[in-house]
Amino acid sequence: MERAGIKIEDVHLSFGETKVLKGVNLEIKPGEFFAFLGPSGSGKSTLLRAIAGFGPTPQGSIRIGGRDVVKLSPWTRNVGMVFQSYALWPHMSVRENVGFGLKERKMPARQIRPKVDAALELVGLQRLAERMPNQLSGGQQQRIALARTIVVEPEVLLLDEPLSNLDASLRVQMRRELLRLQRQLGLTTIFVTHDQEEANTTSDRMAVLDGGVIQQIGTPQELYDQPANLFVARFLGTANILKGRVESYGDQARFVTATGDSLSLSGSTPSEGGNIVLRPQNIQISREAGRNALPGKVLHKEFLGSQIRYLVEAGGTEIVVDQSHSSGVDWYEVGADVHLLANTDNAVVL
Amino acid sequence: MRSTIISSVAALALTATGALADGKITVITSFPDSMTGPIEAAFEAAHPDYDLEILNKKTSAGVKYIQEIAGDNTADIFWASAPDAFEVLKTNDLLASVEVASDGIPDKIGAYPLNDPAGYYYGFAGAGYGIMWNERYLKANELVPAKEWSDLAKAEYHGHVGMSAPSRSGTTHLTVETLLQGDGWNAGWAKWKRIAGNFSTVTERSFGVPDGVNTGNFGLGIVIDFFGFSSKASGFPVDFAYPTVTALVPANVAVVKNAPNEKGAITFIEYLLTPEGQAVLLDPAIMRLPINPKTYATAPEGFPNPFEDETIGATVEFDVEKSGARYNVVNSMFDVMITYRLDDLRAAVGAIQKAEAAVAESGNAEAQKLIDEAWALIDANPIDEARSLDPDFAAIFTKKRKKADDEVGQRQAEVEQEWDAFVVENYRKARELADKAASL
């Protein structure tokens, strides 16, 4: 199967007066599993649909395997798309649904049949070939939709929130299956989701979108550890953000918070910006003060099983702190005066 | 006098409350609003204590309606053109025999007796059938108006003629029957079928014919005179003429049996026969022939006067009894042979006309023989006159169970199917012969 890369350059798109995409640039490598992550309204689905050829024609260029497809009709692009609603046609059987694209390509019927069977086998549902879509469960419909798309051997596979209509346990199973299939076929795949866990677990790289603009592109770890801006920091995982300023003394630098507390920064930390991002697991809570300590007061606590999550007022904001739990460990009552010890090695100043 | 005043005051009061029960006269009529309106207005002005309730129905539907409601009659007057419809009601014992004062009204109009001898119904106006045509249509198609019935059978009028079916229109029935009586049973039917071969359409209502001529849907129509006169009076580019063989027949009015307001009904009929009542007939929208000869003094220029012009409607002595005896048979035959098989008939007659035109040039005797054969097939009748007048045969078409053990030999559907097979086959053969003749 041919592997195609995708190159998106300066794509703008509006619905009437509303600008939905504002200058998107992106390159996806052949065979890559790539995720578009963002809140609803960020433009991630619009971008995906623009690649497939749906919705208003964008400005800029979208190249698939070197071919600019912006002006092409959806049916000439040879990209496969799996819809959030699956969009299985209720008046056709599973076999007819899966064979649809091949029939459109004028393939003789005797060639269609084995291909459909193979595609169904790939998703493990060969036995359901003669069923009607309304006789299938959600997960089965999802797989049929996938089989229907890959059977036509598209250059690119586009998945629009493919797991959002499944229940939690099925979702985990399906995303593994998706990944397995993608690796097996080596298809360049774009996966749109608003769920960071889905994006983190499946994608080689991902793009975080907000307000029609790509905020950051990278591997899931890069984006978590090195968020390019506050939006990315907040959107991926929980982030405690303290306002303040960086003060440098030679090769030493420290971050002074709005309340005047200071946190020393390790050499590797970039030292420009008025915010410091601290992940909850990089903060220790203690009754005693120490190095890089912020005094605070416990506002609220939640027992989560493996962890206890505290909400502490400190450094001029409310800070989330996760403490791993084991029996016999010290408890901090609501209202207790505590100190937060920040491990600034993993902190990011933005 | 005093009682009149009192009753008119009472009537006024009752009109205000919308009841007027005592003076209400319910009239079932086939006449259009444009005719009943002026007469109603004139009558109510002359007799303010009465209120006419007009219910417009086609003649046939009106008869049916009176039959349906006979068990608990609410109608006072039946008022329509066709004498045969009155004959049917009279035979069914649904009309009342009444005495009506009628000064100055002659016994006959043309050759037709005006009133039922036993007083079941009375003539109030005359009407005769004729040919109506659209000037623009004829000019555009380079035709001249037909003068006689037989002219309508000429090839040049093919597809230009319209007529109503006798089963749908009482007055049309009269025309059909008049020709059958005038020319004889077989010759009469032959003439009808040859004319019908030129039909554009057979309309479902009698008004469909003047309507078709008025709009120019077809060029010539076989209509009753007042449709022609009133269409012309309304401004349409149409004209009307009586052919020599026509029947002047009275339009009639009768009191329905067990009428809720028989006194009112008689008053209305008497009013129709007064000079004032007769004068209303000359209203441009009505244009019926008054039966009071004096009324013609006030008629417009050129309005025909049957009491002076002896050529109108004098030729045929119309036999009402004969007509009544085979009323349904004639209707059914016309429908089976013409109305329902118009396409076949038209095609056959058209083919013969084409063949005749070819023979006129070539003079081929063999072709002429084929054409004669073809005409004979068109002309052939499924039954003869004697059978049409046989009461047992007619009963098939009028069966209304009187007693549970009344037996009728054949069913109407059976007879009609026989006729249908007969004419369809004849028309098909005639067309074949004509095509053959044309190709010689």
Binding site: Q84, A87 | K64, T215, Q412
Partner: protein
Amino acid sequence: MSYSSPPPAKRQAGLADRLPGWLVPHLSGLHIAALLIALLLVGLLLVPVAQVMIVAFQDPATGAATLQNFVDFFRTSLFRESFWNSFYVSAMSVVVATAIALPLAYITTRFTFSGSILIQSLGFIPLIMPPFVGAVAMQLIFGRNGTVNLLLRDWFGIGIPFMEGLNGVILVQSIHYFPFILINLSASLRNIDRSMEEAAQNLGSHGIRLFRRVVFPLAMPGYIAGAALVFIKVFDDLGTPLLLNVNNMLAPQAFLRISSIGISDPMGYVISVILVVFSILSLWTSFLFMRGKEYATVQKGGGGMARRELKPIEKAMAYGVVVLILLLVLSPHIGLLLLSFGTIWSYAPLPDGYTLANYVTMWENSKTYILNTVLYAGVAATLDVIIGTAIAYIVIRTRIFGRQGLDYLATAALAVPGVVLGIGYLRTFHSIDVPLVDKPLASWWVIIALALMVRRLPYALRACTAALQQVSLALEEAAESLGATKRRTIQKIVVPLMTGGILAGFVTSFATAAVELSATIMLVSSNNDAPLSYGIYLFMQTPSGRGAGAALGIVAVVVVAIGTIASQIIIERDKKLRASGEQR
């Protein structure tokens, strides 16, 4: 209709003895309502129709029960031909109506197209003109010597037989009844999720193929519903073939035979039976076909309805098609308008001159007709929505024994030709005197309103059922859990939420009842009781009255059209309100 009617209640108890025990203690207000409606429908529909149908099974000579009449029917070639003609005309009308409705429905629902609401409303207008009036106007425009053919002959020397024989019936019927397909098909098309089409495009399908393989099959249930209605209506319709002088069809044959002088030949009744049976059969077939095909295609997470943008060239073409079709379907109205303002219109493309005189004549003579129409159609439509709502509620929300029967019975009115109902009423109600008025029930004006009510009940019932299906059961349960009784819940929650649908039902019933002729022509017992369509009919029976009749027709169309468009706007607004409510 009073609630203190012990005999039915007693009979119910008697029946209940033989029914499962759970039924008896539940004899609630709803049960009583169901029973009353059932009695009403039996009295106003079943009994009168049976009165007519029974004649078909009697030996005309002896009155004994027989099937001979049916044997005669099928032996008579004229009847076989009529049957075939009726079938052919109905089927072709469906085809032509589809050709008219499909582009309108597709363009207005699937593309951003300004004027969609207007087009949808205009598309409804042909339905509110009495078909016989349409036939008159169509003759003037498309007839042998109508405007189009006169012009064609002048310019090119050719004529097109639009209105000859069966063609004319097909054309007039298609133009009159295509809105049934338009309305149902549009609703179905609106419900097709965008992703259904996009998935197909994504797999390489587009254009006609996309429409044929995906869009149309998905819209099939709506299409079949509309097409079945058109088929039945055309099959039963009497006025149009009669006016066009086409006799070789079943309905005219029945009418001609039943209403002719002296012919008490049972064939007319046999044809009535065949009309009714065939109509019920068609309805039933369409139900069978639609079973299990009610695709709820607007899906969770779907894109909802997609309106695509058209390219300028496509847009121009689309407007061209729409304008052409609208010109065609509104041609009866255009013809009628010209006729109403014209002086003399004879063998000419247009009237000779223009005048307002027709409107003056009309206004002087027809106030009664207009008032009567508003009264009758108003009474009928009001009763229709009340009964329709009740039946819809009973069928959807209760488990009352025989509730489906109620639905079928009300719907069966669709299959009863107006003439048959009219004759049945005359036969059934003539011997019943109305107290105080001192008239037989058959000639009391109320009977006309009741006939109209029965005839239009199926329309109102469909609208009410659809509206109720959109009211979530949870909303009712919420009210009941807060202590509202069933009655209060229906009053305060269900009916207000159904307003849009009820209104739509009212308008459809009112508009179509206002122009009904076939049943009323049999039942009008005095010109003072005549409704508008009958008034037009009377006007049109005289040479001088054609213009005035046309003017009255225009008044009818304008009045009903304003009502329709207004309600359409209200319904759209209601829909938007609902849609925005759902999003939050």
